[in-house]
Structure formats: structure tokens, C-alpha cells
């Protein structure tokens, strides 16, 4: 209603109010397109897991190391809208389907062949609240009821009418985007209660706020620190925290890359879609075990030899598989050279060429992911031919050829930066199998970064474990993930207290999550745009 009233004022051209007058009223501070998993989880939570979501989602784009951050910059293309509309129709059809009606439609119409505004309103109000993550305005509800009426008349079927009006909710920008509304609070601007609820639940559950969280938003319970802390604790106590953190780790570790790479089957016959999916699952299970199951020091992700593997992975790792079940806890022996997630098949195969390993790709990716240090693009005019003259009898291994190129002065600065990490992983091939020889020579997996020498996967794992920039980068990205910002553009004043607290709490991820949602900036909003730009002359 409040917003509806302001709309009226604006539309009638009474632009007397300047920024100050607007500030006390809510305004649109941000738009975040739902990710595919957020969409799927939201539908499952609202309508039940039995409702199939069938369709193609628009691709995301990684910004500051995170796909989630692109949600604040991307919109919906014509092809995307078509796909969303089809998905919406498919979902709405299932919701009004005879076998789901008793569970999902909370009232029975007076007649199944005629409009019943009362019953329709009851259903639409309920799902409007859940889908828009706030109550519908009177205008929004009326438009939907009118749509239901006319569709019912055309089809002589109450449920058909309901189906089309549900589709209008599922196709609306208020569902497809998280519309973040804000208002002034004293001198500062911050998100309103419903937008806060969404920020909390999508960070912690990767899904839409539940009824209790929406109730808290309605009663003002999310507008003070105690209330936020209480609700965050409730959300974190739920098993759905695992869903939320899997979504984060998948994004942070760039595990979506597994869906875009191919391996040359003539060189790596073992590799398959099943291996790729298993590798993703292994790394996610490891990350969840280290951070949620044990609530331990997250840096052990780089040093642990424990993993969770299935039969296809046992084949890649060339280890025995002694279980009839699907997944098995496994501890690699010390001489395996494995050390945490950076030596797992997922990370090793994502950042390689289809037919061979690439120390540069691995180095550039791991520096970016774990140290928040992107490597600049190479200069345009470079002769790389030496790197791959495989006929040169003096340059038999990837390392030898890379070194011959990387010592060229114009190339040295970046390669010194990115290559050592990758070179330490040369004992693993393009799909993560161990290999100690290459081109008839023993692989040299030694590396030196900033005067620190180490060798092999275990050396790299320890280096990352001990490097203070690793937890600092992690805290920065987790925060950026929550607020939908570019991790490279966050202010130090926002991040540093979180980093300090992370260390003080033994680098445990759950206290870090609590600190992030309690951070004074977590619900901060940009100021409203001046009224002039808010007025769209094209209306």
C-alpha cells in the first residue's frame, strides 16, 4: 500500500518531494536475479519437492570470483523470459493438478467451473507472500484476481483460472529477482525487514524465507541485532544450512566449471560425465565435512588426507574400493601426495587442458580462488612457441618448456606470480591421476613463492594452510556472496573486522557466518537515486 500510494503521487507528476522525503519511504535499492539453485530450492520449499522444475536457466557470469555476484548485474533476456514463462506455466499446472490440489490449494471453490474470488484470494495471497517474499499489495492482488476471473470464464474452470494467475506470480520480476527494498534509518540507509529475511535465507539456505522468518520480518523482528542473531541461529541450526553452504562452496570453488570442460577421450579414456559429477560431489562433501560436520579449522581443507569417494573416483585415484554403498570415507596414505581439496580430481581437472595439465591454468585459478589475486592477461604480442615444441630434445616436460618461456623478461613477472602453485601440482595429470614421470623424466614438483620453498601437493596444501591471505580471502568472498557484491570492490573497513574475528575463532566457518550477518554493513543499502532519475519519462 505504501508503495502503491507513492506510485500514485509520482505518476500524477507531483515531483515535489526531493530525496529527503523519499528516504523515509522504502525504495528499490537492489535487484538480484535468482540463481538456478535458488530458484529450484525456492520452488521446492514453497510447493514441495515433488514439483518438477523443467527448463533452461540463463547462464551466470563470475564477478570477483563469484557467480552469485553477477546476479546484481545481469537481467533477463528475451530467450530467458521465454524459458522462465514456460517454467512458470509448468509449475502452476502441477500446483493445480488434481493430485496436488488437496495439499496445495487451501480452499475448495463453490463451483469448479466458475470464478470464486474468495477462494482464489486466499490461495494467491498465500503464494504471493511466499513467492514475492513480502505480502502482495492490494493492486497486485486485484490484478491477479482479475486475471483468474477472466481465465476462468474463458475456460469454464476455476483451477485453470488459478493456474494462470499463479503463473503471473511466477513470471513476475518480484519473484525472478530478489527485489531489495530499503529505507533510511536515521542517517544511514538499510534494507527493510522482508529484504533482510531474503538476504539471510538465501545466504544460509540458498532458498526463500520460511513462514517463521517472514513473520519475524512482518513484526519488525529483523530490525534489531538481537532479532537478527536469533533468526540466524535458528536458520543455522537447520539441516538446510548444508544446502546453503554447498551452494556457496560450489560457487567459491568454481565447481560449475566441471560442466563446461571436456577431456580428450583418446588421452584420458577414464574421464566421463560420471567422473566429473563424482569429483564435484567429493569436493563438496569434503568442504561440508570440514566446515559444518566438525566445525573445525577451515584451513584443514588444504591439508587433510581424508576424503569421501565413490567407485568411479577410486578408479581415477587408483585405490581399492571396499564398499557396496555409494560413498565411502577414505584416507589417502601419506605417500599418495594428496593434500586436501587442491589435490582432488575436481580442482585438478577443471584447470587443465583437454589433453594435458597446465601449471599456468592451475596457478592462475588457485591464486584467484584462494588468495583473491587475479592474474593480469598476458601481453598481446607474445611468442609461446617454445612452450610446446615437444620435439625439442632438451625440453621434455611441461615444466622445462614453461620455464624456457617464463624466463623471458616480459613474461617473467606474471609467471613468477602464478606458475609456482601450478608447478607444485605437476604430479597430477589433467584428470587428477597421479603421475611421477613425464616424457621419460621424473616430474619436478618443487616451487618457490615469496622465498618460501615447497614441493608437491602436500607442500602446496601446507603453504595455503599457513598463508594468512587465504582465510582473509575466504571471509571476503563469503561476505560478498551474502550481499551480492564484487569481492574485489569491498571496503577494507567492512572486511577486516570479519577477518580478525575469523582468526580469533580458530578459522571456523560457522562463527564467521554469524559475524557476517551481525556485521553492521550486512543490511546496509545504497542511498536512493534522486527523484529525477527515478522518474521514467517513458513510464
Amino acid at each position: 500500500m505504501r508503495r502503491g500510494l507513492r506510485t500514485l503521487i509520482l505518476l500524477s507528476g507531483l515531483c515535489v518531494a526531493a530525496t529527503q522525503a523519499l528516504a523515509a519511504e522504502p525504495y528499490l535499492a537492489g535487484l538480484r536475479r535468482l540463481t538456478e539453485s535458488q530458484y529450484r530450492n525456492s520452488i521446492a520449499d514453497i510447493f514441495g519437492p515433488g514439483i518438477a522444475v523443467q527448463g533452461k536457466f540463463e547462464p551466470d557470469r563470475r564477478i570477483g570470483g563469484l557467480l552469485a555476484s553477477s546476479g546484481t548485474t545481469l537481467s533477463i533476456t528475451p530467450a530467458g523470459m521465454e524459458a522462465y514463462a514456460k517454467m512458470a506455466d509448468g509449475i502452476a499446472r502441477q500446483v493445480v493438478d488434481e493430485k496436488n490440489r488437496s495439499r496445495l490449494i487451501s480452499c475448495t471453490p463453490k463451483s469448479a467451473t466458475a470464478a470464486d474470488r474468495g477462494c482464489a484470494a486466499q490461495v494467491l495471497e498465500r503464494y504471493g507472500l511466499l513467492l514475492f517474499r513480502r505480502p502482495l499489495t492490494q493492486g497486485e492482488l486485484k490484478a491477479r484476481l482479475d486475471a483468474a476471473d477472466s481465465a476462468t470464464k474463458l475456460s469454464n474452470n476455476f483451477y485453470t483460472g488459478l493456474r494462470y494467475s499463479l503463473t503471473t506470480l511466477l513470471s513476475a520480476p518480484d519473484f525472478l529477482f530478489r527485489v531489495e527494498m530499503a529505507a533510511s534509518q536515521g542517517k544511514a540507509y538499510s534494507l527493510d525487514g522482508y529484504s533482510r529475511a531474503a538476504r539471510l535465507s538465501y545466504l544460509l539456505w540458498d532458498s526463500t524465507p520460511d513462514q517463521a522468518l517472514l513473520e519475524a520480518a512482518k513484526s519488525g523482528g529483523l530490525e534489531n541485532e538481537a532479532g537478527v542473531t536469533r533468526e540466524a541461529a535458528r536458520l543455522m541450526a537447520s539441516p538446510r544450512l548444508e544446502t546453503g553452504m554447498r551452494a556457496f562452496f560450489s560457487d567459491f570453488l568454481q565447481l560449475d566449471t566441471l560442466g563446461a570442460i571436456t577431456k580428450d577421450p583418446t588421452i584420458y579414456p577414464k574421464y566421463s560425465d560420471e567422473i566429473a559429477a563424482s569429483a564435484r560431489e567429493e569436493t563438496l562433501r569434503t568442504a561440508i565435512a570440514m566446515t559444518l560436520k566438525t566445525d573445525g579449522d577451515f584451513r584443514e581443507m588444504f591439508t587433510t588426507r581424508r576424503s569421501v569417494i565413490n567407485r568411479p573416483l577410486a578408479w581415477v585415484y587408483d585405490v581399492p574400493y571396499n564398499l557396496n554403498g555409494e560413498w565411502m570415507d577414505y584416507e589417502f596414505p601419506a605417500q599418495s601426495g594428496r593434500s586436501g581439496i587442491v589435490t582432488q580430481a575436481a580442482m585438478l581437472s577443471m584447470f587443465s587442458h583437454p589433453g594435458r595439465s597446465s601449471p599456468t591454468k592451475r596457478g592462475v585459478a588457485l591464486m584467484d580462488i584462494f588468495l583473491c589475486e587475479p592474474t593480469p592477461a598476458p601481453p598481446a604480442n607474445v611468442d609461446f612457441s617454445i612452450v610446446n615444441d615437444t620435439n625439442n630434445p632438451n625440453l621434455r616436460t611441461v615444466r622445462e618448456r614453461l620455464m624456457a618461456h617464463a624466463t623471458t623478461p616480459s613474461c617473467a613477472s606474471c609467471h613468477t606470480h602464478s606458475d609456482p602453485i601450478g608447478l607444485s601440482l605437476e604430479e597430477f595429470d589433467s584428470i587428477g591421476e597421479r603421475r611421477l614421470m613425464e616424457g621419460g623424466r621424473k616430474v619436478d614438483a618443487s616451487a618457490t613463492i615469496g622465498g618460501k620453498q615447497f614441493s608437491g601437493g602436500a607442500g602446496l596444501g601446507q603453504y595455503l594452510h599457513d598463508n594468512p591471505r587465504v582465510p582473509a580471502c575466504f571471509a571476503r568472498k563469503l561476505y560478498a556472496y551474502g550481499v551480492g557484491a564484487n569481492s574485489e570492490e569491498l571496503e577494507k573497513g567492512t572486511v577486516q573486522p570479519l577477518v580478525d574475528g575469523f582468526g580469533a575463532q580458530g578459522y571456523r566457518v560457522q562463527p564467521l557466518l554469524r559475524a557476517i550477518v551481525a556485521s553492521p554493513q550486512f543490511f546496509a543499502a545504497r542511498p536512493p537515486a534522486p527523484l529525477k532519475t527515478a522518474m521514467n519519462p517513458r513510464g
Partner: protein, 440 residues
């Protein structure tokens, strides 16, 4: 292979003239009798990464009857239906030469991009769609030959891309699945479901006013894009509510099976002709008038099984063979990319339409990201224009741009398609000089 064979059987017969369609043709054989509607002119792009090999593709002669070159051998059957454009340059001014991106984006927007993977304006196909696309079911169709969902270089601007269809089955479903109106159906009538779907969109479009408050410029642009997309979908549904009228002699094949999608050259050879054929039938049945096909990404990683170097790595790592003056293995990838283009042209030229073929009523713009990929050079980027745009473009010509801006090609294309533009591009790429030598 089961699928390919079946597809060829069905698809092969699809090109056979169907007698009942003849009644739509008026005496000149060019327009539809029922409405007098002219055969539409289509526009498409074909993108491939990492350029061509100068010593192997560039003819010595310019003008008509230029000499054949080995890298363009697969295009020989269409030599008289296309123009080869060489020697154009993407000017970067004081922006960086963003490797594998600057050339791509400058060619399709006329503007050297400021940021990697972002377009500083909408791409040319989208501008063209606004003029020639009206009335077709889809504004444009995008296709990735390797099945990569990020492999599309069509955009309304910024970092959003129009997502591609990633397999023959997904392309088939888009074109001929739900919503397809069969022009040969005798008892055609509008689908009441589509009327209702349209009513949904008008409710959604009204949601706009609630989102106007205090919104910043960037979010406003994103909302505009969302509501533009809603309008586009309304037009798609409008098209589905009209009885379709076509002039081409085609039949709709059965749905293809799923095919493996990847970047290996043998697989691309299997998939590309199938995608091209579906696309051609989609154009012929007026599902769209604008398409964008990406054979690979800009730093192309297509590969030959057994060789550990994909195309892009090969451009940087393979030594130039001094005896011949080029990179022997790398150059083959360029040849393969041209074979992909030839497959597209074969599909378009294989559909009779009016007094010619679908290709004659099209203009297909093939372009790439670099000239010499080894150096990421953006001067001398090779481009091709195939089809005569329903007679508005002369063909069979090799034109050398002599270092003038790549935007001249975009300007020429727009003028050939009847867009009222007399200048295009920005900064040093701004031009008011179309290639008049090839405009009819």
C-alpha cells in the same frame, strides 16, 4: 549415427517440394498469394575463434573472379554467393586490446569494448532484428555448435548474452516444439491457451510501476531489459496466434535424438550440419528471421582427439614452419572452422524459396576475433558475407579494406537490410562509408 541417418532421411525429403504449398505462391513465384507478403530477408551471423591463416586464405586478387585459396576450399561451391572481406581493422584508440574480445565486440557493436566479455552497445543482430524481425515468432535464435551455454555473442548490451540452444534437440524443441504453428494444417485456429498465456504477460508488465521508486540507473536499465523481454515474449505469442504463411518448400523433420556436444572437431563435423539444417527450416518457416551461430568461442579450444593442443594453445605454442611460412597444425583448425561455415551455407542454399534459395534471401555475416591469433592482432580480421539479401548485395567479390575500420562492414550490412542508418560505430571506428562496391 542412428539419429544422423534418420535425420538425413527425413531432412533430405524435407527439401522436396510439397505440392500443397504451391498454392501459396503467386505467379511471380516470389511472394505469398494469400497476403501478398514478400519473402522476408533474413540475417545471421557465424562466429568462429582465432581467425584464419593469412598465407592460406588471402587471395592475391581483389574484385570479382579472385583466385581460389586452400583455406576457403570448402566454400568454393558458394563462391559466387559470397563476398570475402580482408584487411579491415578494429581500432582500439586508448582502450586496451582485450585479447580475443576486442575484435569480436568491435565488429558486432562498432565500438572497441572497455571490458572483457562485455559489449558497450547491443550487437548488430539485435539492431537488425528490430527492423526485419517483426512478425516472426522469435526475435532471434542463438546456437552453440559445441553445446556451451555461454557460447553466444549476441547481446542487448552489457554482460548479458542471449543464451544459445546447446543441442539439436534443444534447437528443435525451441523451433518446432510447443507453440509451433504448422502452416500446412488445414483446420488451423488460434490456440486458446496462447491467449491466456498472453494475458499473464499483461499482468506482469503492469508490475513495472511498483519497481520505479528510487531505483538507480544500472538497476533501471536491468528492469528495462526485463520488460523488453516480456514485450518480446508477447510478440512471440502474437505470432503464435496468427496463421503462419511461408513460401519455402520444406517439411518439419521428426525430433532428433540427443547428440554428444563437445569441442572435438569430429563431433563438430557431425553436429554442425544438423544444427544448420534445423536452423534453415526454422528460418524457412518464419520462426525467426535472425540467428547467431557460434562455431567456437573467441579463443577457440576446438581440438583434434589425440593431440593435446587445442586450437588456441596451438596458435601460441606451435612454431611457424619457416619452410612454408605458417603454423601447419594451427592452420588446420582455421580450415575446419571454414568447413563449419560451409555446412551452414549448404543448409541455407539447400532450401528452395521463391525464385532462388533461402540463402539468396539471407545475409550471413561470418566473422572472428583476430587476424593472427598468435599475436592477438585485430588488424586485417577476415570476414565473409554470404547471400545476396534478396538482391540488395552483390556477391562473388573479394574486397580489401586497406586498414579501414571493421565498422564499415556492419554499416554495409545494415544498409543492405534496409536500416535507415548513415553512420555507425564510435571513436575511430565511427564511419559513414559503407562498402558501396558490394551494395546493389
Amino acid at each position: 549415427m542412428r539419429f544422423t541417418r534418420r535425420f538425413l532421411l527425413r531432412g533430405g525429403s524435407a527439401v522436396v517440394a510439397l505440392p500443397f504449398l504451391d498454392c501459396f505462391l503467386d505467379s511471380k513465384g516470389r511472394a505469398l498469394a494469400a497476403t501478398g507478403q514478400a519473402i522476408p530477408t533474413r540475417f545471421g551471423t557465424f562466429f568462429w575463434g582465432c581467425g584464419l591463416t593469412k598465407t592460406l586464405y588471402l587471395p592475391k586478387a581483389t574484385g570479382p573472379n579472385y583466385d581460389d585459396t586452400p583455406q576457403l576450399a570448402s566454400l568454393k561451391p558458394y563462391k559466387n554467393k559470397l563476398n570475402l572481406l580482408s584487411g579491415f581493422r578494429a581500432y582500439v584508440d586508448d582502450k586496451p586490446n582485450i585479447q580475443h574480445w576486442t575484435g569480436n565486440a568491435a565488429i558486432t557493436t562498432g565500438i572497441a569494448p572497455a571490458n572483457d566479455t562485455q559489449f558497450d552497445a547491443r550487437t548488430i543482430d539485435q539492431t537488425i532484428a528490430e527492423t526485419i524481425g517483426h512478425g516472426a515468432r522469435f526475435r532471434s535464435i542463438e546456437v552453440s555448435c559445441s553445446g556451451n551455454k555461454r557460447e553466444s555473442y549476441s547481446s542487448l548490451g552489457g554482460s548479458n548474452i542471449n543464451p544459445p540452444e546447446t543441442s539439436p534437440l534443444s534447437l528443435y524443441s525451441k523451433l518446432f516444439g510447443a507453440g509451433f504453428q504448422d502452416p500446412s494444417k488445414g483446420d488451423w485456429k488460434p490456440d486458446p491457451d496462447v491467449v491466456l498465456q498472453k494475458s499473464v504477460l499483461s499482468v506482469v508488465a503492469d508490475d513495472r510501476k511498483l519497481l520505479e521508486m528510487g531505483v538507480g540507473a544500472a538497476d533501471r536499465a536491468r528492469l528495462d531489459q526485463y520488460f523488453t523481454s516480456v514485450r518480446e515474449l508477447e510478440q512471440t505469442l502474437d505470432a503464435e496466434l496468427r496463421r503462419p504463411q511461408i513460401a519455402a518448400h520444406v517439411a518439419i523433420p521428426d525430433a532428433p535424438d540427443e547428440m554428444a556436444m563437445n569441442k572435438s572437431v569430429p563431433n563438430l563435423r557431425k553436429v554442425t550440419p544438423v544444427l544448420a539444417k534445423l536452423l534453415a527450416i526454422g528460418l524457412a518457416t518464419d520462426q525467426t528471421r535472425v540467428f547467431n551461430m557460434a562455431f567456437s568461442e573467441p579463443a577457440s579450444t576446438i581440438y583434434v582427439p589425440g593431440d593435446s593442443r587445442p586450437f588456441h594453445q596451438s596458435t601460441h605454442e606451435e612454431p611457424v614452419d619457416e619452410a612454408v611460412g605458417y603454423q601447419p597444425i594451427t592452420s588446420k583448425f582455421s580450415t575446419y572452422s571454414m568447413e563449419g561455415f560451409a555446412a551452414l551455407l549448404a543448409a541455407l542454399d539447400g532450401i528452395p524459396e521463391g525464385d532462388g534459395t533461402l540463402l539468396d534471401h539471407s545475409l550471413v555475416f561470418a566473422y572472428t576475433d583476430t587476424s593472427n591469433a598468435k599475436l592477438h592482432a585485430v588488424d586485417g580480421i577476415p570476414m565473409l558475407l554470404a547471400g545476396s539479401a534478396s538482391g540488395r548485395m552483390k556477391t562473388g567479390i573479394h574486397y580489401a579494406g586497406a586498414g579501414t575500420t571493421v565498422a564499415r562492414v556492419g554499416l554495409t550490412v545494415q544498409q543492405a537490410l534496409g536500416l535507415p542508418v548513415d553512420r555507425w560505430g564510435a571513436e575511430s571506428n565511427l564511419t559513414n562509408k559503407p562498402i558501396s562496391e558490394i551494395l546493389a
